[in-house]
């Protein structure tokens, strides 16, 4: 179950003595298994909303039910545990660990669960095979293309089998062709593996892949 219910959500950043309101009483429902694109001008709060849904940031006010858990009420360690079990994160800049191989990068999330080394290696290998990189296990990130790096990042996001994938401009740094491959992958993860996907993007072509598109502007959401 990875439905998302956002109720009257607000986020205000505080910089020095200045209040910066980013999200203003936002309400949103995303059912389990949906594929949603989130668009909007730069600085409109897309990353902020994604971070809130993913438990990376905490809201100023409002309710945030993700998979039935009210995550606005979770504290640091509990939130970290919740994230590791329920969320797969995909960043614009991949955020792979440069000194670890593709295989080791994908293994990272599994270090947090009780599991034999053998099973861990096997699962990481399977995840890399799903993203089409079964032949690049021992390559370091610098030996891979941007598109391949992002596919490793996707393997890392799905290896612990979370129900919700959050992708922040996953194709923002890629050319058309590699970007297309990433979108194919996300579509497939949604369709075949029933992952709920929330994707922030600037690209209308990317947004077309989603079932629904939301526009965020000046802290307000429209469909």
């Amino acid at each position: 179950m990875a439905s998302i219910q956002v109720r009257d959500l607000s986020k205000v950043y505080q910089r020095d003595s200045q209040r910066i309101p980013v999200l203003d009483g936002l309400t949103l429902d995303i059912p389990d298994g949906d594929f949603v694109a989130l668009m909007g001008p730069s600085g409109s709060g897309k990353t902020t909303l994604l971070n809130l849904i993913g438990g990376i940031d905490t809201p100023t006010s409002g309710q945030l039910l993700v998979g039935g858990t009210d995550i606005a009420r979770l504290s640091g360690p509990a939130l970290a545990k919740w994230r590791s079990r329920n969320i797969g994160y995909i960043f614009q800049l991949y955020n792979l660990v440069p000194v670890l191989t593709a295989h080791q990068n994908v293994e990272l999330p599994l270090l947090l669960v009780k599991m034999s080394g053998r099973e861990r290696r096997q699962r990481a290998r399977t995840a890399l095979e799903i993203v089409g990189l079964g032949d690049r296990l021992d390559h370091f990130p610098r030996q891979l293309s941007g598109g391949q790096e992002q596919r490793v990042a996707i393997a890392r996001a799905v290896v612990s089998d979370p129900e919700l994938l959050l992708a922040d401009e996953p194709t923002g740094d890629l050319d058309r062709a590699s970007g297309g491959e990433i979108l194919d992958l996300l579509e497939r993860l949604n369709r075949e593996f029933h992952k709920t996907v929330v994707m922030v993007t600037h690209d209308p072509h990317a947004a077309e892949r989603a079932h629904r598109v939301f526009q965020l502007d000046k802290g307000v959401l429209s469909q």
Partner: protein
């Protein structure tokens, strides 16, 4: 729960220049520490090696060194007849009344003079000193104007090589042999016949009597008996303790001085390590935030970075060990404060000292890595992910 160690090892290797700079800083500190400790150990070893636990040395009551002591012929004769003295196969007592003086001599290769201990011994009691061996020439003949020279000083002082003539008082002596003594301080002495040397220096008095105990386990009883004998007026110590005590003061001084220099350098090196680690944490802000997002706990991030700092410093410690190892071959000299004569000895870089050096390096890494690791574990997630 923890990040793999290879993550840290590879990160350390990933930045060779900063790793090497930091390692050299830590390494120099550790090399100094090892140098001081091995100097103290070498000095101590030379003195401890000198004494034997089943020998006993008799000095005048209240004298704390041989040169400030005096033992009359009469006292020496009473001791020679004492029942607790061990005897050799021909029933001769293993006892040596000795004349000990300090002689000022020119050094070779260095300007100025220095003191050498000259010891007149009972030739028949040579077996008393285990491990003493002629390495060139022969022993002196009893009654002859001949001496043998310890191998450590024969090339450090003028007139001390085999065949040379040395003048003591009004008499010339021939160097007829060189001897070794298992690294003991005796190797820094000149030995001759006690009866021949006595009139040359101080007249009718010995400075000490050393004898082998028939039963070393009875040391306490022997000591009580001799020290309370009003005819004698002597203090009694095990020979081994006598020399060990001499070593303590200077060995401690070396350790304290070495420790002091080490601490000053360590502060610098710790700041170096801290700087490197802060830079590493700064460069990996987003990476650390990503690990936190994945669910790694702040504590495990912190432990990981402290580990990284310790690995870095241990590498520095290894560099320090390598820098210090060649010391093992260096022989140096110092003034033995108990006899005010020159004492030559070698650095002793032991496995224990190397381990101490590595342990200190690890502690430096722990201290230097703490704050950067704390910073790493406390990244505000959302901001760090934006690369702020």
């Amino acid at each position: 729960m923890a990040l793999p160690l290879s993550y840290n090892v590879r990160n350390v290797m990933q930045r060779p220049v900063s790793t090497l700079t930091t390692a050299v800083g830590v390494g120099l500190t550790i090399a100094i520490l090892i140098g001081a400790l091995s100097l103290a150990a070498g000095f101590r070893a030379a003195l401890v090696q000198t004494g034997s636990a089943d020998n006993l040395i008799v000095l005048r009551k209240g004298a704390n060194s041989e040169i400030s002591s005096g033992i009359s012929r009469q006292t020496a004769a009473i001791l020679r007849a004492y029942g607790e003295v061990a005897t050799d196969a021909r029933s001769r007592p293993l006892l040596s009344p000795e004349v000990v003086v300090v002689n000022n001599r020119r050094r070779v290769g260095q300007p100025g003079n220095s003191n050498v201990t000259v010891r007149g011994i009972d030739h028949e009691a040579l077996v008393l000193r285990r491990g003493v061996q002629v390495v060139a020439g022969r022993w002196f003949e009893p009654g002859a104007a001949e001496v043998v020279v310890g191998r450590r000083i024969s090339t450090r002082f003028e007139g001390c090589r085999l065949g040379d003539r040395v003048r003591f008082g009004q008499r010339d002596f021939t160097v007829v042999g060189l001897f070794s003594a298992n690294g003991a301080t005796f190797e820094s002495e000149i030995w001759g016949d006690n009866e021949v040397l006595m009139p040359v220096f101080r007249g009718e008095v010995f400075q000490s009597v050393t004898f082998r105990m028939r039963d070393p386990a009875r040391f306490d009883a022997i000591r009580r008996e001799l020290e309370s004998d009003p005819r004698l007026g002597v203090d009694v110590q095990r020979e081994s303790e006598f020399y060990a005590k001499q070593s303590e003061m200077l060995a401690n001084l070396i350790r304290v001085l070495g420790g002091f220099i080490t601490i000053i350098m360590a502060v610098g090196a710790i700041f170096g390590a801290m700087n490197t680690m802060f830079a590493a944490v700064g460069a990996r802000t987003r990476e650390i935030a990503m690990l936190l997002v994945l669910g790694f706990s702040p504590l495990s991030i912190m432990v990981s970075f402290v580990f990284e700092s310790v690995i870095l410093s241990l590498f520095g410690g290894l560099v320090g060990c390598l820098m210090a190892l060649p010391l093992n071959r260096i022989v140096t000299s110092t003034t033995n404060f108990s006899s005010f004569s020159e004492l030559a000895f070698g650095f002793r870089v032991t496995p224990g000292i190397l381990l101490t050096g590595l342990a200190v390096a690890a502690v430096m890494g722990l201290v230097g890595g703490f704050l950067p690791a704390l910073k790493a574990s406390r990244q505000p997630l959302a901001a760090a992910l934006r690369g702020a």
